[in-house]
């Protein structure tokens, strides 16, 4: 959007040259324009001057704690932020998502995984422009946020109030990870971590109603230690 040619501009914040090289090569091959920043300071400058469409943010930076960078970027840009970090930093991922990041990737990851997340992020961001979408479709389900109904094909799916709130919260961020914390806040109004068991209970009953095989869910995807995502695209 920040570019005349219409190709999306991706800001890769990463201090490792080789990883940057691979990002740039594979993303440019897909038609994206890649800008890189190897420090937090430069990242903020690039966000201000280049107005990127997507930001890939490695949490381990030499100068600034990656977590602190999320709100700093949010102050200048609404572009989706995809957090990249090592597996053992799950707590950081949750914090980053709660601080305003949109998605995460765990190192080491494959390029197809990265491209899939970028596509989702761009689509999600575009949809924000359409403001409050009232119909969210996934598989042969249609969720009407306004009319508070869920249709499977032509047939109504009966949901309890809490189940509907949970599903609606996920549907407002299609294909993005919504943390357990955020689900608690949106559904129950409080965000006590000790209550996360209730999210599991209601997600279980949602899966029982929506998924044909709850151990192989197609739509209500659990991200261990982080939260859930509603998959709208296969």
């Amino acid at each position: 959007m920040g570019d005349l040619t219409g190709e999306a501009c991706i800001l890769a914040v990463e201090d490792d040259r080789k990883i940057l090289r691979v990002f740039a090569t594979s993303l440019e091959a897909e038609g994206y324009r890649v800008v890189d920043a190897n420090t937090g300071q430069r990242a903020i400058e690039e966000v201000r001057t280049r107005n990127p469409d997507i930001i890939l943010l490695d949490l381990g930076l030499p100068d600034i704690d990656g977590l602190a960078l999320v709100p700093a970027i949010r102050a200048h840009s609404t572009a989706p932020i995809i957090v990249v970090s090592a597996r053992e930093k799950d707590a950081d991922k949750v914090k980053a998502l709660d601080a305003g990041a949109n998605d995460y990737l765990t190192k080491p990851f494959s390029v197809p995984e990265l491209l899939a997340r970028i596509r989702v992020a761009i689509r999600g961001h575009a949809q924000v422009g359409n403001a409050l979408r009232t119909i969210v479709a996934f598989g042969n389900y249609r969720l009407d946020l306004e009319g508070r109904t869920l249709l499977r094909g032509d047939e109504h799916v009966r949901l309890s109030a809490t189940e509907f709130k949970l599903l609606a919260t996920l549907a407002r961020h299609p294909d993005e990870v919504v943390t357990t914390h955020a689900l608690l806040r949106e559904t129950w109004g409080s965000a006590h971590y000790s209550k996360s068991g209730y999210v599991r209970v209601y997600m279980h009953s949602l899966r029982q109603k929506l998924e044909s095989d709850p151990t192989r869910p197609r739509y209500l995807i659990n991200e261990a230690g982080l939260g859930y995502r509603l998959r709208t695209s296969e």
Partner: protein, 535 residues
């Protein structure tokens, strides 16, 4: 026995008191002499001087035997005076006219001195024998106690108890020195105590010079306690501090030879204990070294295989990429991809295991759903090449209770078990994951493959670190199962392996059901239009 009286009282008082004591002591002797005199006069002893003098000598000998030196001399003086005065002419006078009468008097003194000296010597020998017996007993029970003590603490406490029971007037402590020759802490007979109140400079002097210092010694005698170094073969291992039980006592504490011997025994025991601690540490070090070597050889083997594939495949692409058929190029790239993934998994297991063992891998328990854990595992398995969903069959009851577990770690356990199962099982038989609650006690998770299975001997060992069955195919650090066991046990569960009926391996683990899991908060009002929602 280890104390002397300070001569602070006036010397005069003491001497008078002692003199009167001596007289009181000698009184029975004097009385006996008087009785012999009266008896001799009554029986007409003046006519039979020989028998009278023998009677006096007999009394003196008896007094010498029973009442000691001073009483004997006094009795001898009294006898000589009475003999001269009452029996020797001129009667009523002390004058001696015949030289043989003087000889009789001298004989009386000679008997007194001789008999009492002999008796005194006997008494002293008996006392010394008693003392040495007590000393031997004290040392013997000290040595026995020290030998029975297994730890440094119990050894010091037992030793101090023995010292205090051998010298009840003394309060004893041991100050322990560390490797840097500083005092770390102290022991009293009650246990470990702080170093407060100890004169550490004096104790240090004793430790450096290897001789007693402080109160009751020639070195720095103004100190509030007496410090006896505990000297063993390697040098000073600690310092024994002795002080009087009575506060502001006028009696200086001094290290008796018994206490010094006991200190010697304690020093040797402490040194033995130190040596055994060092030996134990060395054994742990050796074990660590052995494991480290096993890790290194295992890692270098298991890492080298994928690295060889990656290096050769990528160099082919770099050097000859243009000349390769597209299919061959894709094949090379695929190999690199697969092997890099394998390396990554290997590294992750290794890191997790290290962190689990160092306690750094925290278990973050929360109410979690095993259904979701299985879903995650299946998704991860699907993402991998070759591990298709078709090969996994799951049975997860829909009414499974939530468990207080760390979902990420349990996912890792399942992933490791499935990795193993899929590696060894035959493709025409799916691997099964079965989960079942056993009452409200625990949940049993079973991963069942129908591969070649393992010999019974191996079943017990497959969870041991770096254990690899002879049946092991291809790479695979023996870490996945060790990690699984570590995680399951950290959750209070158990993990074991059995034969699958009809061939194959079954690995099962339990996770305890703890507390009351959250349930649905409201009755399932399955309304299509939900009135209460919104705002």
């Amino acid at each position: 026995m280890s104390t002397t009286i300070n001569k602070s009282k006036t010397v005069r008082d003491g001497q008078l008191w002692r003199l009167s004591q001596a007289f009181r002591h000698a009184l029975p002797g004097i009385a006996a002499v008087a009785a012999v005199t009266v008896l001799g006069l009554w029986l007409g002893g003046r006519a039979d001087l020989t028998n009278v003098s023998i009677a006096f000598l007999f009394v003196i000998a008896v007094v010498s035997m029973w009442l000691g030196y001073q009483a004997a001399i006094l009795a001898a003086i009294a006898s000589a005076l009475c003999f001269d005065y009452f029996f020797l002419p001129p009667y009523g006078s002390l004058r001696i006219t015949r030289s043989r009468d003087l000889l009789t008097d001298l004989a009386m003194f000679a008997v007194a001195v001789l008999v009492s000296t002999l008796q005194e010597r006997l008494r002293r020998q008996a006392r010394e024998a008693r003392l040495s017996e007590r000393r031997t007993e004290s040392l013997y029970s000290l040595v026995r106690e020290l030998a029975d003590s297994s730890s440094m603490d119990s050894l010091n406490i037992a030793g101090l108890r023995q010292i205090e029971s051998a010298a009840p007037e003394i309060l004893a402590r041991v100050l322990i020195r560390d490797g840097a020759d500083r005092f770390k802490h102290a022991f009293s007979s009650g246990g470990r105590v702080a170093l407060e109140g100890e004169n550490l400079d004096v104790a240090n002097w004793a430790a450096i010079h290897l001789e007693p210092a402080g109160q009751g010694t020639r070195n720095l005698p103004v100190a509030s306690a007496c410090y006896v170094p505990l000297v063993a073969t390697r040098g000073c291992v600690g310092v024994l501090a002795l002080r009087s039980r009575v506060s502001d006592s006028t009696v200086a504490v001094r290290p008796s030879s018994l206490i010094q011997s006991m200190a010697q025994q304690m020093a040797m025991a402490i040194e033995r204990s130190l040596l055994s601690e060092e030996k134990h540490a060395a054994e742990i070090e050796a074990e660590t070294e052995r494991i480290r070597n096993a890790v290194l050889s295992s890692i270098s083997h298991d890492l080298r295989t994928p690295l060889t594939v990656i290096t050769s495949a990528s160099s082919t692409l770099v050097e000859n990429g243009d000349r390769l058929q597209p299919a061959a190029r894709a094949e090379m790239a695929r190999l690199i991809h697969d092997e890099a993934r394998r390396l990554s998994e290997l590294l992750k297991s290794l890191l997790d295991l290290t962190r689990l063992q160092s306690g750094a891998l925290g278990v973050n328990r929360d109410w979690e759903s095993l259904e979701e854990v299985v879903a995650s595992v299946l998704r991860r398995a699907d993402e991998r090449t070759g591990l298709g969903a078709l090969q996994l069959r799951t049975h997860v009851p829909s009414d499974l209770p939530l468990l207080q577990i760390d979902a990420i770690l349990i996912e890792q356990v399942l992933m490791n078990l499935i990795d193993n199962a899929l590696t060894y099982s035959r493709t025409d038989f799916p691997t099964e994951i079965n989960i079942a609650a056993r009452g409200d006690r625990d949940v049993l998770v079973s991963v069942i493959d129908r591969g070649r299975g393992l010999p019974s001997d191996d079943l017990r060992h497959i969870f041991d670190k770096f254990y690899r069955s002879d049946n092991t195919v291809g790479a695979g650090l023996g870490l996945g199962l060790t990690l699984a066991r570590g995680i399951v046990e950290a959750h209070g569960g158990r993990i074991w392996a059995t034969h699958t009926p009809g061939g194959g391996l079954t690995v099962q683990f339990t996770l305890p059901i703890t507390g009351v899991a959250p349930g649905l908060l409201e009755p399932e009002l399955s309304e299509e239009g939900i009135q209460s929602w919104g705002t």
